[in-house]
């Protein structure tokens, strides 16, 4: 009962925040709302028992993304969204048609948590039955993410590390120029 209430309320907050992000044109407020959106979706992930995804969402979505977007806002002048140059009817039609196609595609998808689907019968039973003994991790999502798919996660970490170095090189340049200018008056 209380689980359903929490789920519904968090999803309603998500929808309200998303619509507000679309409607508000003050970019600073939009970034703040992005932070709230990330916190909300991380809460949804926690309720779904995906602890690691929630970790990632909180640190990347609410932490780093907010700081990076604010940094971009500081480097570029103008804190208000440009008014759109054209009527949004064509994008609206494209989005509606694509969305309708995707919803039509969900008709064939098996029901949520259906045990008879191929995805649940391949390796999932082994993860569920042997995961605790083989990895020693209490959370099954964590066991799959950090142990069974350890190399995949290591590759993701490498990608994020490289991206972080690139961003530091781009954003740190102005500071170094200023410092070298100060050294040679």
């Amino acid at each position: 009962m209380i689980d359903i209430l929490i789920d519904v309320t968090l999803l309603a907050f998500l929808a309200i925040t998303a619509i507000a992000i679309l409607r508000i044109h003050n970019l600073f407020a939009v970034i703040m709302l992005f932070g709230i959106f990330s916190l909300l979706s991380a809460g949804v992930f926690v309720v779904l028992d995906a602890a690691d995804v929630a970790f990632t969402e909180a640190s990347v979505g609410a932490g780093i993304s907010t700081v990076l977007m604010l940094g971009t806002l500081a480097l570029t002048r103008g804190h208000h969204e440009k008014p759109p140059a054209h009527r949004p009817w064509l994008p609206l039609v494209v989005v509606l048609v694509t969305g309708a196609a995707l919803v039509y595609g969900t008709v064939d998808i098996p029901g949520f948590g259906d045990p008879a689907t191929p995805a649940q019968q391949h390796v999932a039973p082994r993860y569920l039955e042997q995961g605790q003994a083989e990895t020693g991790v209490p959370n099954i999502v964590t066991a799959v993410l950090a142990s069974y798919r350890g190399y995949d996660t290591l590759g993701e970490v490498t990608v994020i590390f490289t991206a972080g170095i690139g961003v530091l090189l781009l954003l740190g340049r102005r500071r170094r120029d200023k410092a070298s200018k100060d050294e040679q008056p």
Partner: protein, 99 residues
């Protein structure tokens, strides 16, 4: 029962903070609303951990508290100085002056 009441109270507070973030006339209203929303998320996760008996997700609540703090410090630094890489003193330096 007690945890359910606490969860409902936290959800109501989250709604109020969200309303302030949407309406908030000044920048500081929105920053404070986001900070409060992060705190409420931490509390909601902690209450949910006890509600569902999975107390291992309390660690996530701790990480959220840290991220929330760092994020708010970064936002306030930006609002105060206009960038992330100077503190208050170097802004007032004239060019060519030894620092």
């Amino acid at each position: 029962m007690m945890f359910s009441a606490a969860a409902i109270a936290i959800l109501v507070t989250m709604g109020l903070a969200l309303a302030r973030a949407l309406l908030g006339p000044t920048v500081y209203d929105r920053i404070l609303a986001v900070n409060m929303f992060g705190t409420k998320t931490v509390l909601l996760i902690a209450v949910y951990a006890f509600l569902s008996g999975r107390t291992d997700i309390l660690d996530i609540a701790l990480v959220y508290a840290l991220i929330n703090f760092i994020g708010v410090v970064a936002v306030l630094k930006l609002v105060e100085h206009g960038n992330f890489y100077t503190d208050g003193e170097t802004v007032q330096d004239e060019p060519g002056k030894e620092s």
